[in-house]
Symmetry: C2
Subunit: 222 residues, 2 copies
DNA sequence: TCTTGCTTTACGGTTTCCCGTAAGGAATAC
DNA sequence: GTATTCCTTACGGGAAACCGTAAAGCAAGA
């Protein structure tokens, strides 16, 4: 049995159009689409109120900022808010992001039902995913189905990312204490910063800061 | 007067679908689409041979690699090859890339006729771009039309990127000479490497390597 | 108040990096 | 052959980063 009501949250108009087309091909007539996360959340609330809740949310992860300031700024926050409001809502993420770590986190922390990567055969995949999820299954790319290979992972705290972002902005290590004090961030001693960086490098097996910055950029940590 | 024959080179199926839809809305009946650059080039050659050349190429910039090994690996190479074959061909780039430096280079070096960024109203923009280019105009995003503000730019040589990539891979600076000698890359002295890095940082106004790595990651230089 | 345990900071010695200067080497011109 | 020029490398002093250890701060409990 296919979905009744589907909400599409996707900021790229062109992508939104083709998702709608795929939805239409599956004879889903009650679909709605928005370009901003806040709109998506509002629609979900409203649909609940009039007792016609959506049964699927298809959402992108990254939404571009523009003049329209949003409370909910990305797909992750939208999914959280949506699930708070309507725990039973199924969620299909449709994003260009391809890093396993990101997708793993979505599955584990947010309990999403499917993931389709924007790539060569994404329209076909989208259709397959919709069919699978409609049958109560999950849909994830092949590489996700295999056991999560152990990789060097490290939970970056906001303290960590602050330091790393400062470094990446060209602040010298020994200048960082001053910056931290200005913002009342507490371990502000140079020694603490050194230790922290050392710990991170150690856990991840890195030998210099350059490698760490590259890693953080690749995984969009900063 | 609208285009007669349009070729769409875009690897994301979903995006390709909506570009085709936009093309169709403009009553262009002879459009063709491909998912690989090599295919695009082959179509252009073939169309020329049978004396029915395309008059517009709409292409993405980045194409994802897969099992299908391509000679032409990205949009830039495709545009170059296409213009070599058919100098009068008009080109509209449709890409998510948003860095001014990249777009400037396309305009200057490849003489593209339009650029639409994959973003919120990209479908509408695409339509506007098509109409403009059909009238012999150029179409670029607003921020491009204003004079190119002087920014710190630097042409990275392959030597530069090699060094930076080694750093980002966790190789220590003083270990780099060994790596360069192994690959017969010629200024291999530690001093040359230091000088080179110093020059790059200087030109770009950076104060440490971390900042440089962040920059290179942001601009996809490594 | 005085422990106890934990976190943060301070302080050195060592290594690495930074950067200016000078020496070496190769190519070209005279 | 020897100047000239340009590029590369070697060297050395100073700055920054690295890292272990010890001292100081701080919170909670006896």
């Amino acid at each position: 049995m296919m979905f009744e009501r589907v909400l599409i949250a996707e900021d790229q108009e062109s992508t939104s159009i083709s998702v709608r087309k795929t939805i239409g091909d599956l004879n889903i007539v009650n679909s709605d689409y928005v370009f901003y996360c806040d709109d998506a959340f509002a629609r979900i609330q409203k649909a609940l109120k009039i007792n016609q809740p959506f049964d699927l949310l298809i959402t992108d992860l990254s939404f571009e900022e523009d003049h329209n300031i949003q409370k909910i700024i990305d797909g992750v926050a939208l999914i959280k808010a949506a699930k708070d409001e309507q725990p039973g809502l199924k969620v299909l993420v449709f994003s260009a992001e391809g890093k396993s770590a990101v997708i793993d986190a979505l599955i584990k922390d947010l309990g999403i039902d499917g993931y389709v990567r924007k790539a060569r055969h994404d329209a076909k995949e989208l259709r397959s995913a919709l069919e699978a999820i409609a049958q109560g299954k999950k849909y994830f790319p092949a590489q996700m189905k295999m056991p999560v290979k152990e990789r060097n992972t490290y939970d970056f705290t906001s303290y960590d990312t602050t330091i790393i972002a400062l470094l990446a902005a060209g602040i010298k290590q020994k200048e960082i204490p001053g910056y931290l004090q200005n913002q009342d961030i507490k371990p502000s001693g140079l020694s603490s910063i050194e230790k922290r960086l050392n710990l991170i490098r150690d856990v991840l097996g890195f030998s210099n800061n350059e490698q760490l910055i590259a890693y953080c950029k690749d995984f969009k940590i900063i």
